[in-house]
Symmetry: C2
């Protein structure tokens, strides 16, 4: 029997589970509601049962599973396999999730945070394939980050590294949710992009987005990019602010771990070249001029919503697979 | 016979050579003028002869040398062992320095840039001892950088990583020698610190440093810190600018590779707590508030001028030593 791996992506609403062969081909996948209010025992029982079901449906047995990968939001002590706490799952406190899954399923469990897991998925089989050094950003409520250096994820001394959304781009600038001022996340996450547009309108800026704000009571980053496409001036200013912050973060990472490729993920990449083209434009504006031969590729993620399960499966294979 | 290692630190003026035992104890050291104008063949002949001499004087033979480490300024293709070019040694173009040394001395040669080598020295036996994740800055004409992640130097995809002086702290700020605007180096190197003071005086700022500038025609960073110690207001403003930029770079590295320790080196650390205390002050001002339990130690290098030979010897031991 060929090696089989399981990838689990734990979100506040749903738990996604995928089954992979040794080439990381997705054999099957499923999704169940998280029901985090039921507490860790019940949630992890259900998670394990769902793995058993999907394995059986594939005509396999638990003995075929070489390893299981799982990704959750932090904070956690990943190398110890423990979720410390979770905003979306308030009953999860100091939960030894790896041990609990291992007790139920037998296979060894590899655990990392959701951004690192998605980063690893893109690195292994997505937009980062073929390079050994990559940086990853996911643009959502916040900005998640991941760094692959010489083919390994960078975790840092306390497993809180690669929090790239909290590198400071504008000292003493906008206050971030983390308490710092001027973080990349405070400008360039999907939420911050929308919020900056709403704030500008509330401060009196003229924009076709005003109607959206008046009617819906809020603006999303999707709205902002749609109005950019339609020629709105404020949308241009706001989205250029987003792209410039992301570009500056790319310049800084070039001088830090020097990735061959920088990959952006998250819902906001649906904006396509309206986002990517401007990140590249501002990158070329800010990057040094003495070494123009520097090659760094800035691109979008390719795995979409399966990045979490693929990355978790890929991490399991990386640690326990035969190749 | 116990293992013996050679460390070579190539500067534009002098070549320093050290001989180390397996515990990286410095057995002996020497220094010869570089005489870079004589061209690579003659310089490397002299380098090899000096190694032979110091080995013989120690009562050893070339056969006792397990490996040789060497550090030079970039740009170079370190893993291939080739100096591409050198500002201080204009006749050194595409010089296969590792092969040339190996031909003359027999032992394998490990090659890296001078900042990485000094970083590795501090990591192995200096201020970074005992941690696995470290970041290093050397404050001189420019700002050199080094990153150790999980016990290994970070080189990046094109061996130009860890150029931390060129991370951008103030977008669209002061123009750096590299062509970018707002680099840490443009504010906080020893040279930039002195230059900012001179510019302020030339623009009319009052300062006790004006007399120095008038009499000597220039100001050094040493002057600035001396006048700070004597209570000069401009010196306070300039040096706080330096410390704040360095602190912001520390915050960003915390969120990037998350070092347990950040080590500053270079002549400017002679300023002592006038520099270190203020870096820590601004670090605490800018770092996030949600995770105050974060521990990161910011400290000064301890190896002084021998960091280059020690680091080179330590790199040789790291790659070729038995432990």
């Amino acid at each position: 029997m060929s090696e089989t791996f399981v990838g689990i992506d734990v979100g506040g609403t749903n738990i996604k589970i995928g089954l992979f062969d040794a080439e990381l081909k997705l054999l099957s996948k499923t999704s169940v509601t998280t029901d985090a209010d039921m507490g860790p025992e019940i949630v992890i029982d259900k998670m394990a049962q769902t793995v058993k079901d999907i394995v059986a449906e594939a005509g396999l047995s638990l003995g075929d599973i070489v390893a299981i990968g799982i990704g959750t939001p932090g904070p956690a002590r990943y190398s110890e396999g423990i979720i410390i706490r979770s905003t979306n799952m308030p009953k999860f406190k100091n939960v030894p999730i790896c041990k609990m899954l291992n007790d139920r399923l037998g296979a060894p469990v590899v655990f990392d945070n959701d951004a690192n897991v998605a980063c690893w998925g893109e690195f292994a089989v997505g937009a980062g394939k073929g390079v050994e050094n990559m940086v990853f950003f996911t643009l959502g409520t916040g900005i998640g980050g991941g760094i692959v250096n010489d083919g390994e994820l960078v975790h840092g001394c306390d497993e809180n590294g690669a929090e790239l959304g909290h590198t400071i781009i504008y000292p003493n600038g906008r206050t971030c949710n983390c308490g710092q001022k001027g973080c990349a996340e405070a400008y360039a996450s999907a939420d911050s992009t929308a919020r900056r547009a709403a704030e500008a309108i509330e401060a009196g800026a003229e924009s076709s987005l005003k109607k959206v704000l008046d009617e819906k009571g809020k603006i999303t980053s999707k709205d902002v990019y749609e109005h950019l496409a339609a020629g709105d001036g404020l949308a241009k200013e706001i989205t250029d602010g987003t792209a410039e912050v992301l570009a500056l973060t790319c310049v800084n990472m070039l001088h830090c771990t020097e990735p061959a490729r920088i990959v952006f993920a998250g819902g906001m990449i649906a904006a396509g070249d309206l986002l990517l083209g401007r990140i590249r434009h501002f990158f070329n504006k800010h990057v040094w001029t003495i070494k123009k031969e520097d090659k760094i590729e800035i691109c979008f993620a390719t795995l979409g919503e399966d990045a979490g399960i693929i990355g978790a499966g890929a991490l399991a294979r990386h640690k326990y697979g035969q190749k």
